[in-house]
Symmetry: C2
Subunit: 258 residues, 2 copies
């Protein structure tokens, strides 16, 4: 990693992910969005609703990366312990945040803001709120830690509202080739290409489409010139092997899911 890399980690909080009840969707969303902003997601962890585990992970990850995002555990029930854990990790008191209370007051109909919902107005002292346009109760930021909801639609809306607080580096560009050749046939030339372009991340992912096997070869770099050179090298390699890419995605087109 060069010095200019802006890095992030994600901490997914919740027994329900580790029990198999709920399939996480926030990692995939944040990975794509952060990388597009020039922020490399370099670590992701899932921890249960355990104060000790959450506090330890928060302190390790916030020290190791430029940004830490957490998802989950900010609702009104007793298993929602994220705000308390963040306060503990920072050694801050936790208390009702007047701004958060005002947001809840404006969100709920008169009389509906009960004691439990008010629990969602508690933040570590000095936290900056992250608005929740979907269901009212805000997330919050303490230093480089951003605390988001677990429900994917809410986490995504919160993220879009905080993007202007993030300072990214050069975005990671990717150039991908799909080709109907097995990885094993491509591998020697692909490895030689990696040796020629050591700073470019190269990944190979096999696929099977309608019974036909092939490989997606992905080149990733923040340097568009080098990336274009490596892409030309890969185009040549595929041609030498007597094939052509069935799909080529130059930088600027988002990588599709697979």
């Amino acid at each position: 990693m060069s010095e200019s890399v802006v890095s992030a980690a994600l901490l997914i909080i919740g027994n329900e992910i580790l029990s198999g009840r709920t399939q996480d969707a926030n990692l995939h969303f944040l990975a794509g969005r952060l990388n597009a902003l020039g922020i490399r997601l370099l670590d992701a962890r899932v921890v249960p609703d355990s104060e000790a585990r959450i506090v330890e992970a928060v302190n390790e990850l916030r020290a190791a990366y430029d940004y830490l995002f957490t998802t989950g555990g900010i609702g009104p029930t007793h298993d929602d312990i994220t705000a308390d854990c963040i306060a503990k990790a920072f050694g801050l008191p936790i208390a009702e945040n007047p701004e958060a209370r005002a947001l809840l007051e404006s969100y709920y109909p008169t009389g509906a803001l009960n004691e439990r919902r008010l629990r969602m107005a508690r933040t570590p002292k000095g936290a900056r709120l992250i608005e929740n346009p979907i269901s009212g109760a805000p997330g919050f930021q303490v230093e480089n830690v951003f605390v988001l909801a677990g429900i994917p639609a809410v986490a995504q809306a919160m993220f879009e509202g905080l993007v202007d607080r993030l300072v990214g580096g050069r975005p990671l560009l990717s150039h991908a080739f799909d080709v109907y050749l097995p990885e094993s046939v491509l591998a020697p030339g692909f490895e030689a290409l990696q040796a020629r372009f050591p700073d470019i991340e190269m990944g190979s992912y096999p696929f099977n489409r309608g019974g036909r096997f092939g490989s997606s070869l992905v080149l990733r770099s923040t340097d568009s010139d080098q990336l274009a050179q490596a892409a030309q090298g890969l185009r040549n390699l595929i041609a030498e092997l007597g094939e052509e890419a069935v799909r080529e995605r130059p930088p600027g087109e988002p990588e599709p899911n697979s």
Copy 2:
């Protein structure tokens, strides 16, 4: 955690997960299957294709939990470094495994087992293979570490073939109630129920079905008697609040995804 808990961790290996290219599906699968076998998944991490990161995580997790599963990075290309990293983590030499070679020879048509594919026969010395009924190249086991493919169908097939090597504890049972009440209304009674049954894991998850908001309340325990008592307490709570559960899933019925 009582002493009788059998624990596991999952290490997901691959730049493609952290770049947003690929959505992981192995965590969700393994979480559900392990818990059904009486093995609690207590930690999951995603690391890039970095030798240092993989070796560090393998050594930390294999020491901390009864079982460690890894997914990804066992193909034929130069970005597939998992086998080498496992060998390094254990301080073992890596070499062609004759049994793995035999599996590859029987899988590929004559002449198709090229040098690159043979790379997938390399394992740390003494590793026990994990068969791959889908695409030939095996996974492997070293002590309490199980190395699986990243492709979900292959990882799942490998897992089913190694289940008889795992010794679980008492399976975690769950009893879930879906009710059209907001979490904030349920929360005080739910917290009181938790205080009455401190050994039962209780989780609350909001949902929105066709515009109607509600809560899924989930009780989890390895003790079926205590679980039944707590479930009765929750049934009473819901009735006291003037509602009834729209769906109740007693132990034995798998938890649905959400």
